[in-house]
Amino acid sequence: MNPEYTAGSLSGAFAALVRRDLLLAFRRRTELLFPVIFLLVVISLFPLGIGPSPQLLARIAPGVIWIAALLATVISLDALFRSDFEDGTLEQFVISGHPLTLIALAKIATHWLVAGLPIVLLSPLLALWMNLPLESLSVMVVTLALGTPILSLIGSIGVGLTISLKRGGQLLSLLVFPLYVPILIIATAAVMAASDGLPYVQFLGLLTAGLITSVTLAPFAAAAALKISLS
């Protein structure tokens, strides 16, 4: 085994895990693109289904982009622990002596870098497609930057609980979508407020509060879920 990966310190283990997962992700580049392509396809369906009216599209743009982001996240979530679970690496993590919470946090961070960040980077383009006013475009990007990590964090709990199931993906969506409701409400409200020229900073504050809360709590719940699934 590469001595780099048996690093004794917590930060060393964290960095090693993030590096390993990023490397693995970039070795499978097509899989990396799936959530992004999915997002583009789903969003392009809305004008086709609803009609190309610019006002209508601008009105529904925040909701459509956010719902598509939720769906894209849930689709990519299953990969969070799947391969590590199947080849036994996850069990090695548990007996490695490092807290499973930290390992879960490293996996979640990588998941966001691989699946969440592309959505954030792509969102200006999506907003233009949906005819979102330029002044609320930056707010859209900020809500996604603050919100998508929360999606990965809360989602990790659901993945931890369903990982031992053969077809956990379908169940996963039932488990996590109700938990995503507040984020969807607050994030879309922020963008809509910005479109209407109303103050929106309080919503960004709420999203930040949600991010801080879920960063502190979700990894513990995800670790507990993984322990149950591995028992």
């Binding site: 199931l165 109700p178 879920a225």
Partner: protein, 262 residues
């Protein structure tokens, strides 16, 4: 019965502590609850008949909503129960996860279908009530919406529990999910409430006002009390069946079956 000898031999502790410890043992629980479940059903039946008689026959029609307000006697207790049962499920799930008490896992998991049923009843009666009062079966009212999300949370817990084959692992996973849901439930509730005021301006008040006449209030309180007994009776009946299913190959179940045979 000869199944609880081991417990009797232990040194005597506080009687209440002993009692709670004993309830953690499936055979003792099975025996003990079997004795008073019929009474719970009986009290529930009596209270329901009394409450519904007062509510549906005796109480005067509402001056605003007419006869349709009477659906309240089913709707409001169900809605209260849907939230109470989720809380009790999460508390039992917490106890089950922290102290690994198997009885608590069984009780928490048997609560989920009862709670989901109450939520469904609350939603169905709510939308039936909405038709004459609001003129539509469904509005994205804050309370209706959070009740709907609550139903999804229940379905998630039930779905996860049924998806995992090994019963104890399934119960622990679903208990954890129930706990996560309980942490999120207030956030969901307040965000939905706030979202609704944002989108609709003024929301429609479901109750006629805070000044409710005693002749209308009493049946409601009786019904609210009655459904607690329904929950207890249903939960314990379910838990007994679940225990028999899970312990099919254990000695105490064989004794139970032997006693049942004439």
């Amino acid at each position: 019965m000869n199944t609880n000898i081991a417990i009797k031999d232990k040194p005597r502790k506080n009687a209440l502590v002993m009692f709670i410890h004993k309830l953690g043992s499936p055979p003792w629980f099975y025996d003990f609850t079997g004795k008073f479940i019929p009474w719970l059903w009986l009290i529930f039946g009596a209270l329901t008949i009394w409450g519904l008689y007062l509510g549906l026959v005796k109480a005067p029609a509402d001056y605003l909503q007419g006869e349709s307000f009477r659906i309240m006697y089913i709707h409001v207790p169900s809605a209260w129960m849907s939230m109470l049962i989720y809380t009790s499920m999460a508390v039992m799930g917490f106890i089950a996860l922290v102290w690994r008490i198997r009885m608590m896992e069984v009780l928490a998991m048997c609560s989920a279908p009862v709670g989901a049923a109450f939520t469904l009843v609350a939603l169905a009666t709510g939308s039936l009530w909405g038709r004459p009062t609001w003129g539509t079966y469904w509005v994205w009212d804050a309370r209706l919406t959070s009740e709907l999300v609550l139903l999804f949370l229940y379905l998630g817990v039930i779905g996860l529990y049924n998806a995992i084959d090994e019963p104890r692992k399934a119960a622990r996973a679903a208990c954890l999910l129930a706990l996560v849901g309980a942490v999120n439930l207030p956030i969901i509730h307040y965000s939905v409430k706030w979202w609704n005021t944002l989108h609709q301006g003024s929301s429609i008040s479901m109750t006629g006002g805070s000044n409710i006449d005693p002749s209308m209030l009493w049946p409601l309180l009786i019904m609210a009390f009655a459904v607690k007994f329904y929950y207890a009776a249903n939960l314990l009946t379910r838990a007994r069946v679940r225990l028999l299913e899970q312990d099919l190959r254990k000695g105490w179940v064989k004794n139970v079956v032997r006693e049942q045979k004439p």
